[in-house]
Subunit: 251 residues, 2 copies
Amino acid sequence: MSIKLSKISTLPPDDLTKKKHEAKTIEMVIKIGELQHKLYAEGKQSLLVILQGMDASGKDGTVKTVFADCNPTGIDTYAFKKPTDEEFAHDFLWRVHHKAPLKGNIMIFNRSHYEDILIQRVHKWITEEKAEKRMKAINAFEELLEFDNNTKVLKFYMHISQERQQEKLQEHIDDPAKNWKHKAADWDENDHWDEYMRCYEYAINESKIPWSIAPSDKRWYRNYFIAKKVLETLEAMNPQLPILDKSNGGS
Amino acid sequence: MSIKLSKISTLPPDDLTKKKHEAKTIEMVIKIGELQHKLYAEGKQSLLVILQGMDASGKDGTVKTVFADCNPTGIDTYAFKKPTDEEFAHDFLWRVHHKAPLKGNIMIFNRSHYEDILIQRVHKWITEEKAEKRMKAINAFEELLEFDNNTKVLKFYMHISQERQQEKLQEHIDDPAKNWKHKAADWDENDHWDEYMRCYEYAINESKIPWSIAPSDKRWYRNYFIAKKVLETLEAMNPQLPILDKSNGGS
């Protein structure tokens, strides 16, 4: 089944209310914290959360809200930027693989290896053939994490409309508290919107491990949607606190 | 085409003489040093040499002889041992990927990711199903290095007979200068010889990037064989010293 992003709404379903769902999100965030504690204590499985989306789609805000109740000891987040010289001297997955989560941990990628078939493809820094080879390598890499390290890979495309993105980028200029987020280059990337959508659709449709499309025009619904999926995933992983067998002296 | 190790000789071809081929090896070792210098200066391609073989098959000696004339700045070697706790908390390729060579460099693996489908499989620490999944992951990993980082992957199986191995292990006991190499566990692994051969054959036959089988009962021929293949590979990579274009001031 092939998805078409322009056919998917960036808004919450009509019948949902902000107030009620913000309260539900808070409840879920607490449960996520409890399950993260168990995951860490158990030390047998790990969770990799990948957040991808256009600029201003809410990646930072999602991390801050959804994982607010996790113990920093067992969770880490990494924002992938332009590769360093050392990273450029290796294959594109080299720096990414090194950041894969330890057993017992949650790792959140703010951007990821998908940039290597998004921004690099949009700007034609790589050939279409190389993009296709990289997609196959990504599938093999994500499957490796799952089968060899009990890592659950959870990928979100933060689906925002171009109009809403423009509003948020303008906020970065208008609101002094958000000025630090302003980058002129974000506006330039906007000229490539349609090409980005084509490349995102390719990545989503060719991935063996499925994506969740998070409608992200409204912060409250984006947080609710992602918290719900993260919670369901952790519940299905069902981490267990190890209990000592006291019958043999606890060894 | 499927290979059967028991059908392949561990000895040099009859018509080769030790003295003459030792001299040839020395010539090749010098040329390897010259090409390694160019590879480093060029900074566009890299070479990964993987040495696998039973204990005492000559991995250390090969590194010492064949790469004797390389500049340590552009070459590195890594001997994979039992994984650390941190390594065990990741997939089996995690620690290996991190050691992949930079563009411009040669990396030599003394043992490698293949141990994860050799010793682990022989001792049944992993299921046959997991060994097969790992083999597929290895193929994807090695291909990634080749297509995304211009890394040539050169793999040697150091083919030694069980009789010759016993002799060399005995030398580790009898010769005080070699006592440091003695490990009682090496003798225990010997009980699993046939199973090791089965797992090596699987790895060699299922690999997409081909192996070279280096007859290793005689040190001089093993060195000659491996130096020849390394030299041919570097010649085919054909690294070029970058030359300044002085017409525009050398920029």
